[in-house]
């Protein structure tokens, strides 16, 4: 569904989609068919190994515009080996030679922070250095403890989950875009952000010197007196690409009364949180509790309920 929405909103993925998985083809086809019903996507399924160069060649992965590699549910060492082989195979098959290609590698943890010092994604991508310039972009998306953080934030701020879902998923709500077609060089952030009347201006993005290896830097919520450079672009939250285009005329200035408004604290958060722990006997909620502690205001009370408190306190 996310791919379907993205193709409507951003114009990406307007091409056939091939799903390669090492499972029974009939089962795969049935599952994909079920999930994609009504989405208007052209999807083909193939049984095969996602790091085998022969199987990748069969599905023309090297000529694909986008390749999304999902991490298998295996131990860390096996995952690292398969992932490295997949990246190397795509490079060997010529991905990025003739046309720009993007590969997104999903990982559960930052591959560069492995305790075993396994082959991480950047290492697999840049080694050996290519003889010719390649238009292949490899991005790693890792989950880490993201979900615990989101759950904790939602527990402390009722209603936040809907906001998070709106922002992170492709749906009728807004998404993040980056401004284009306007040079903000020399302008203050406070001035630049007034050029958008249908978007929430959230920050500044500076592209990397070499986009293939450096995806740039972002500063969200910068001070208003930040001076923008020529290459800087603004990060926006809006409903479409059209709303990410800067207006020639900025919005008018606010009235003087804006400067006189005083801020007063008004409680808007949960202060008494109960965590019901389901799942395995040895489940430890320390990740979630750590996340709650990170965001909770002073005085928050957390009650953890579990079948076996001893197992929790041993791991906490």
């Amino acid at each position: 569904m996310q791919i379907s929405e993205a193709s409507k909103e951003r114009g990406s993925f307007k091409c056939p989609i091939v799903v390669l998985a090492d499972v029974d083809k009939d089962e795969l086809e049935e599952r994909v068919s079920q999930d994609s019903e009504g989405l208007g996507l052209r999807i083909f399924t193939r049984k095969g190994c996602t790091h085998d160069p022969m199987d990748l060649k069969r599905v023309a992965a090297a000529t694909a515009k986008y390749v999304i590699w999902l991490e298998p549910e295996e131990d860390e060492i096996s995952v690292a080996a398969r992932r490295a082989c997949a990246i190397a195979s795509l490079k060997a098959l010529g991905a990025g030679h003739d046309e720009t290609a993007k590969m997104v590698v999903q990982t559960s943890h930052d591959s560069m922070k492995s305790a075993f010092q396994l082959t991480d994604v950047p290492l697999a991508f840049r080694t050996p250095p290519p003889k010719e310039r390649r238009r292949l972009d490899v991005i790693e998306m890792y989950e880490e403890e993201n979900f615990d953080r989101l759950l904790a934030q939602s527990a402390l701020q009722p209603g936040l989950s809907a906001i998070i879902s709106d922002v992170l998923q492709h749906n009728i709500g807004p998404e993040f875009y980056v401004s284009h077609a306007h040079d903000f060089g020399g302008e203050l952030y406070s001035t630049a952000r007034r050029h958008f009347d249908s978007a929430a201006v959230c920050g500044v993005f500076t592209p990397g010197a070499d986009p293939q290896f450096d995806h740039g830097e972002v500063i969200l919520n910068p001070p208003d007196d930040t001076v923008l450079r020529k290459e800087d672009r603004l990060v926006l939250l809006c409903n479409s690409e059209k709303q990410a285009v800067a207006k020639a005329e900025p919005l008018p200035s606010s009235g003087i009364w804006v400067n006189d408004v005083q801020r007063e604290h008004v409680a808007c958060q949960s202060e008494n949180v109960v965590v019901l722990c389901f799942g395995e006997e040895s489940y430890t909620d320390s990740g979630l509790v750590d996340s709650i502690a990170m965001f909770a205001p002073k005085g928050t009370n957390v009650t953890i309920v579990a079948k076996s408190v001893k197992s929790i306190t041993t791991h906490a």
């Binding site: 996310q2 991005i139 809907a162 993040f176 919520n221 606010s254 389901f278 799942g279 009650t303 079948k307």
Partner: protein, 222 residues
């Protein structure tokens, strides 16, 4: 532990401070109604259903529904504090969300208001993955939002910024007020029910907003 004898046992000597909050541990079956009855005596603002990711997806969703029913039953009979609370849970299938929303909707007449906040981990992960694939620049933005030292999204009361009772205000004026306090205005949440917040629909700079005296009027910032 037998469910019909002693459902909840607190361990006050295991209580501790963590960050700025205090944590206490209670031994009890989280799936048991009796556990909820024991908890119904204390003030609760939110109940988090944790650990459901350890269960098979369909079973996890079934547990959410089951717990929600129990919570509603406890709220209709025994709940001491009547101000209301939110149930926060992961959820795997959108069809389950429809069932959960139906329960919440049907439970509007309960003496204790209950709202539901769910997160669909697979949909969130897919959404991020797809957005980044289409526009790799978003990778840096999402990493900032998701990482510990990065920016966060908060919901604040409109009254906190003195917006209540001033009549119509332009959204760019709201943005300027929040910028003076080092925050960025993302949009509004017209909190009618948890089912239909209307965030970000009023981000047009020229649109006028009017914040009434209701405590429910909230703005979303980071």
């Amino acid at each position: 532990m037998r469910d019909d004898i002693c459902m909840c046992r607190s361990y006050p000597d295991m209580s501790k401070s963590k960050g700025q909050c205090s944590v206490r541990y209670v031994e009890g079956n989280p799936a048991s109604f009796n556990t909820l009855l024991k908890l119904s005596k204390q003030k609760i603002d939110s109940i988090v259903l944790a650990g459901l990711e350890d269960l098979p997806p369909k079973l996890a969703d079934a547990q959410l529904i089951s717990s929600l029913i129990q919570i509603q039953e406890a709220a209709s009979t025994k709940w001491k504090d009547k101000t209301g609370f939110t149930v926060v849970s992961p959820l795997n299938f959108t069809e389950t969300k429809q069932v959960a929303d139906h329960l919440i909707s049907e439970g509007k007449s309960l003496p204790v208001p209950i709202s539901l906040d769910v997160l669909l981990p697979a949909e969130l992960a897919s959404g991020i993955l797809v957005q980044v694939t289409g526009a790799p620049v978003l990778d840096v933005i999402f990493k900032d939002l998701m990482s510990e030292p990065g920016s966060e999204i908060f919901i604040r009361h409109a009254a906190e910024f003195g917006l209540v009772g001033k009549g119509p205000i332009k959204t760019y004026e709201v943005a300027d007020i929040l910028r003076r306090h080092g925050e960025t205005f993302l949009g509004c949440v017209a909190f009618i029910t948890h089912l239909s917040p209307a965030p970000f629909q009023d981000t047009q700079g020229r649109q006028e907003l009017c914040y009434g005296p209701s405590w429910n009027e909230r703005v979303c910032v980071h």
